[in-house]
Symmetry: C2
Subunit: 245 residues, 2 copies
DNA sequence: ACGGACATTGTTGCATGCAAGGACTCGTTT
DNA sequence: AAACGAGTCCTTGCATGCAACAATGTCCGT
């Protein structure tokens, strides 16, 4: 239990190589050289590749085996849009069924943490990190509390698509001022979402939550079109543009 | 290419055993006896089990290996509800972007086929089979034409959950009159959905499509609570009730 | 110089063996 | 009779070998 299994070691190594660009989109993933490079036998490599296929990072190649998948910007945009719809459903269900006292408290704690992180005159790396973690927790709480297991699973899967999760494109200190303003706007939306949920306003909560995902889409557009700072691995894995709206 | 691989043979055999009740929910799936029973070696059994985990039919067991998953009625109901939201999004996107002439024609053909299947004074097994296939095509066309790949993938996954797809709970000849009436109602909704899509009415299309999934939920409730005719494998794999709305 | 055929190398799918861990059964002790 | 310990059997994780297939390279003939 404490020692990672060989499959886990292979998974970690493969993910790292994909995100670092050592393995490029379209590249053939051959069991034997990979097993040798990672230091495990072929069996865990094969099982790790099957798992990465499940995660969408690799795809089956003609004639067997796997290729590193290429992600288009369009695909990530699609995933973010889908996440908006799913999170909207979660917020609606939650508003309809009512939030427990404990959940309301947890959501309020998130709001306070976000306010605190954004309170400085400057968005330091530490503040942004705190914000990103708060954001992850906020979205996670809503997904789990909605009470629909299929929905929670679908949200987990769409959030696992590279750069499509709620915190994937949170700006870094070097990002543009436009993205920093967007972050402040996004957190104000968090406040409104909590208000709608605790007030039992299902349609409002859903609409706000869907609109909220548009911030991630705007971040994506700024990275692609204005050359704004991108997260690690983005420039390697993502290609193409988003069609004009 | 023509001969099924050993993994495929193992997948087919395992699915059959699960749906037939030869392997019951909660039962431990041991590689060696299964490999012997199916007539393949352990490697394809292991890969098949990993694939079935991906499909949700089996789950990892504590201490390694897998168990046959039990499905609760609640879980299937959740999945159907999720499908409604996803299909609603698809119909909205389609209405917003406009349906091509070819797609409009294909959807109209589905409507005509459904009308024809339901036209008889009695719903024969053949008529219901034709309806189910038309229904599958209708829903598939909308999912693919929506133009969001992440959405199409999420729909494919939720539809793969046993008994959650659009045609999973289409009645059989021995089903109750209530379910037959529901079928006729559902097909009238198909007409309205196409009208909304081709008319560019995004919000209307979405609302109709979401409501449309409630028919599957109603079918599920009738099977569970009125003891109506259930599809093959349902009584084996599905346990529990749905909470009162 | 180009194309075709053959040989070699690399890779995948699969089978099987080994080691370690967990579960079950049997015997002994309290 | 019940509980505990030891031994045995079953299963999983993993390593490795074999056969078949595909891709690439080389050589020969036109």
């Amino acid at each position: 239990m404490s020692a990672p299994s060989q499959v886990t070691r292979a998974l970690i190594a493969l993910r790292e190589r994909i995100f670092s660009g050592a393995l490029r989109p379209g590249e053939r993933l051959a069991e034997i050289p990979l097993a040798e490079a990672i230091g495990v036998s072929r069996t865990p490599v094969r099982l790790a590749l099957a798992e990465l296929e499940k995660e969408g990072l690799v795809e089956p190649a003609p004639g067997g085996g796997f290729l590193v998948r290429a992600f288009t910007a369009r695909e990530i945009d699609d995933a973010i849009e889908l996440r908006g719809t799913l999170e909207g459903m979660a917020a609606r269900l939650l508003a309809e069924h009512g939030a427990s006292r404990a959940l309301s408290r947890a959501l309020s704690d998130c709001l306070a943490e976000g306010d605190s992180a954004l309170a400085g005159s400057e968005l330091t790396a530490e503040a942004l990190q705190r914000y990103a973690e708060m954001n992850r927790r906020f979205h996670g709480l809503i997904a789990e509390a909605a009470g629909n297991a299929a929905l929670a699973r679908a949200l987990a899967m769409v959030s696992a698509i590279p750069f499509a999760s709620a915190s994937a494109l949170v700006p870094s200190p070097g990002s543009s001022a436009a993205r920093h303003r967007l972050l402040i706007y996004a957190h104000e939306q968090h406040h409104a979402i909590v208000e709608a949920i605790t007030g039992g306003q299902g349609a409002r909560a859903e609409a706000l939550m869907r609109e909220h995902a548009c911030n991630t889409r705007a971040n994506l557009r700024l990275i692609l079109e204005a050359g704004d700072a991108a997260p690690p691995g983005f420039r390697t894995l993502v290609s193409g543009r988003i069609a004009a709206a």
